[in-house]
């Protein structure tokens, strides 16, 4: 038995160079210090993405876009064996994934892991976050219930009210003046084909960069002499811990999905008045609140354009941070970058809370 496995291994290894990969994993090390906890969040996000891919494919088996969309989701929730579980897992994991990417992003930011040579890690990560939020936005419409219908309607009003490009976006994304079955169909295509096709290559690139550049050290660790720094081997030590963390994540996810299964809601009806308290998902709340504040401050399109402008500017600045604070010297620029990060973090939190309080 054992010799057969060895022979198979040899056959595969000759063709795929597997032993090189193993040697690489064995030599790879992960720094150990008091901020090591934050290294897990990239892995958690990855795990949740895998959960999304699996549960997404499973939902695809019974989901039917078009006029039957709502009914097929009703069927999944109330008729198909464990359909409620798969759907709740998908919905909860989506939220947890965006949340853990946010945690991952801010921890990378404050550990200054965007510095040379890791700029592309930062940029590809930002892209992944943006695509994830579009994943969330497009997926939210698919059940075609009242909440998702009106949230999409309100959400699309923001880009479509922009001058010049607004109507264009309306025609392309919404496929007409109203959210309709055409909108649903293209959101579906976006959600299950276009976005994964964009996301997966960027993700592979992102992960390859992590292998190429290794784990970044926070400035406080970098200041230490090399011989005082502690590391553990990636395989098996860090890998084991990573697996344990994944199990815990799955456990939290299962608890949420089982104790708070996702509601079916009421079938969307365009002719009915919008129910009270329609609001975007929590990860859009801070952006939504900025638009609201500027909309109230300045009259008409001007306020909205200002809001969109400021928000876009913020994202661009955020993305350009590796160019501003490029190297490991802890000069004035590094401090400014940290302050800017704290400001953004506080801003996002305050605006989100404000947004919910103002509903």
């Amino acid at each position: 038995m054992k010799s057969k496995i060895d022979a198979l291994w040899k056959w595969l290894d000759e063709r795929l160079d597997l032993s090189q990969i193993i040697a690489f994993a064995q030599h790879k090390t992960v720094p150990q210090h008091k901020y090591s906890f934050w290294y897990y969040w990239g892995g958690i996000s990855l795990f949740l993405f895998l959960v999304q891919a699996l549960t997404g494919v499973l939902l695809l088996i019974y989901y039917r876009p078009g006029p039957e969309a709502f009914d097929s989701v009703r069927q999944i929730t109330y008729e198909i064996n464990f359909g409620w579980l798969i759907r709740s897992l998908h919905a909860w994991a989506a939220n947890l994934m965006v949340a853990s990417i946010f945690v991952h992003m801010f921890s990378v930011y404050f550990m200054k892991a965007y510095r040379a040579p890791r700029e592309f890690g930062w940029w590809s990560g930002m892209l992944l976050l943006m695509i994830s939020t579009v994943f969330g936005f497009s997926g939210y419409l698919l059940p075609m219930n009242e909440l998702s219908y009106f949230a999409t309607k309100v959400g699309l009003e923001i880009p479509t009210s922009m001058p010049i490009i607004g109507p264009l976006i309306g025609d392309i994304v919404r496929a007409g003046p109203e959210v309709s079955e055409y909108t649903l169909q293209r959101f579906f295509a976006l959600h299950v084909v276009v976005l994964p096709a964009l996301f997966v290559p960027i993700l592979v690139f992102h992960l390859w960069l992590v292998q190429r550049n290794g784990m970044a050290l926070p400035p406080s660790e970098e200041a230490r002499p090399v011989q005082e720094r502690k590391t553990i081997p990636f395989f098996p030590n860090f890998f084991m811990k990573d697996l344990a963390v994944w199990l815990i994540t799955l456990n939290v996810l299962a608890l949420l999905a089982v104790c708070f299964p996702w509601d079916l809601g009421v079938q969307a009806d365009a002719l009915k008045p919008a129910p009270l308290g329609i609001h975007p998902e929590w990860y859009f709340m801070s952006a939504f609140q900025i638009l609201k504040v500027f909309g109230n401050l300045l009259p008409g399109d001007l306020g909205e354009a200002m809001g969109v402008g400021i928000f876009t500017l913020g994202i661009i600045l955020w993305m350009l941070i590796p160019l501003y604070d490029p190297d490991s010297r802890s000069g004035e620029r590094a401090r400014h970058a940290t302050y800017f990060g704290l400001l953004v973090l506080a801003g996002v939190i305050v605006l989100t809370i404000w947004g919910y309080a103002a509903l």
Binding site: F37, T77, Y78, E79, I80, N81, F82, G83, W84, L85, S88, P236, N237, M240, K241, L243, A244, L247, I248, L250, N251, A254, L255, V258, C259, P261, V266, Q267, K272
Partner: protein
């Protein structure tokens, strides 16, 4: 119906029992399994002449003493307090039956308390041999508290035909031994022993994580020894669970599958959902123990220990919740419904009226709504709340008076093919009283259009 109602808003009286009981079980089951753990660990340390191990065990026994003798006992009294208030009928029925058992349990409990104190305060003051004997005495005494309470708990689900034959006759205590060693006694005892010993391992890991890093070798050894204590126990759990599930009456076993294909409100899906949590949590505990405690013990620190304890809490909580739910709609199967109605009294109450025995009706018994409210408080509120847990208002949303009436008719008739038959007690009372309940429920239903579709 003979007692005043304890109205706990939002969560209901049941959850006061539930929360207290889950907290108590997390500690008291540790008290039982932990006795075994302490005795075995001390025995191993003495046999191998490991004085450094004895120091760790001494520290663990201090933690053990404080947790079990303070929080365990106080929460145990808390359970008595909560069940007496929230479910006086059930408590009364159990006391009348098991007063002897509880008296004996009290004796073992006193021995337990005395020995655990002696055990901790005599470290290094009496001979090793004698100290170990005190440890074993504790382990045995605490085992017998479990042995007895297990009889009472398993009785509620499977009282057994001998006892049921005399139930309600006033001669129940004559079948004490049959009730004590009821059909569910042994599977339940073994399952509980498995859980107790696992919890001992979980809490021991918590102590181990606090061993100072100055002694890395000792810490690793201890964590690994505890992990090896825990993992085999968890592996036997599926078999013990299977045995336990096998003895559950067929009618109740159906509850496992009600939530397979739906999460519809008003259908009883919680048991299926809890099973998912039980499975996932036990596997996560095993995984974390294996990947961290066993394979890289030096990384097992306080956060990991907190995670394990929290997961164990989830596991114990869902196991107990499931066990309670499986008994629906009874407190004592086939004898006493969860709202205090006795199966043998149904016919009489339907003829003579439920409110006849109700002394407390808000605003007197003049209006139909007031009488309906008394019906609601007496028969529904043991499981439902108005707005919180299992909210009546939400569950009835969208129904008019006629729909409420026909729903109550289904509950009143309580036919075996009724969708509620398996988890809701029958609605008892005269037709007039059922009407009154309907009138009251109508006042709860929100009056908005398309509130439910």
């Amino acid at each position: 119906m003979n007692y005043p109602l304890w109205d706990v808003p939002m969560i209901g009286g049941g959850w006061v029992i539930g929360i207290t009981a889950i907290f108590h079980l997390l500690i008291s089951q540790f008290a039982v399994g932990g006795g075994l753990y302490l005795a075995l660990a001390e025995q191993k340390a003495l046999r191998e002449g490991r004085r450094d191990w004895l120091e760790v065990i001494r520290l663990h026994s201090r933690f053990f003493l404080i947790l079990t003798a303070v929080f365990g006992t106080v929460s145990g009294v808390g359970i008595w307090f909560a069940i007496g208030l929230a479910n006086p009928e059930g408590t009364s029925a159990l006391i009348h039956n098991f007063v002897f058992a509880w008296a004996i349990e009290w004796v073992f409990f006193l021995v337990e308390l005395a020995t655990v104190a002696v055990y901790y305060y005599t470290w290094g003051r009496i001979s090793d041999r004698l100290h170990l004997q005190v440890g074993w005495l504790y382990a045995v005494a605490s085992f017998f508290t479990l042995f007895i309470i297990n009889g009472i708990l398993s009785f509620k689900l499977t009282p057994g035909s001998e006892w049921l034959a005399v139930a309600g006759s006033g001669q129940e205590a004559s079948r004490f031994w049959e009730a004590m060693f009821n059909p569910g006694f042994w599977p339940s005892l073994f399952l509980r022993m498995g859980i107790c010993s696992s919890l001992a391992g979980v809490w021991a890991l918590a102590t181990c994580s606090r061993i100072s890093n100055d002694k890395p070798k000792l810490k690793e050894e201890f964590i690994q020894w505890t992990a090896k204590w825990l993992l085999p126990l968890f592996m036997t759990m599926p078999f013990l669970l299977a045995w336990y599930v096998h003895q559950i009456p067929e009618a109740q076993r159906v509850l496992f599958t009600l939530g397979v294909n739906t999460v519809a409100p008003g259908v009883f899906t919680m048991v299926t959902r809890m099973v998912v949590i039980i499975l996932v949590s036990s596997i996560t505990i095993m995984g974390v123990v294996y990947f961290i405690a066993l394979r890289s013990p030096s990384d097992f620190k306080i956060p990991q220990a907190v995670v394990i304890v929290f997961l164990a809490l989830t596991l114990v909580g869902s196991l107990e919740y499931t066990r309670e739910m499986l008994r629906k709609p009874f407190i004592i199967a086939e004898h006493l419904y969860s709202n205090g109605v006795r199966t043998k009294a149904i016919e009489r109450v339907n003829k003579d009226g439920y409110l006849k025995d109700t002394l407390w009706i808000r605003g007197g018994s003049k209006t139909s709504v007031a009488r309906g409210e008394a019906m609601y408080r007496g028969q529904c509120m043991s499981c439902h709340t108005v707005d919180g847990y299992r909210p009546t208002r939400t569950l009835l949303a969208g129904r008019d008076r006629a729909a409420i009436g026909s729903f109550l008719k289904v509950l009143h008739e309580h036919k075996p093919d009724s969708p509620y038959y398996r988890f809701m007690p029958p609605l008892v009372g005269t037709d007039d009283e059922v009407q009154a309940l309907g009138d009251y429920l109508e006042t709860l239903v929100p009056k908005t259009e398309n509130s439910f579709k």
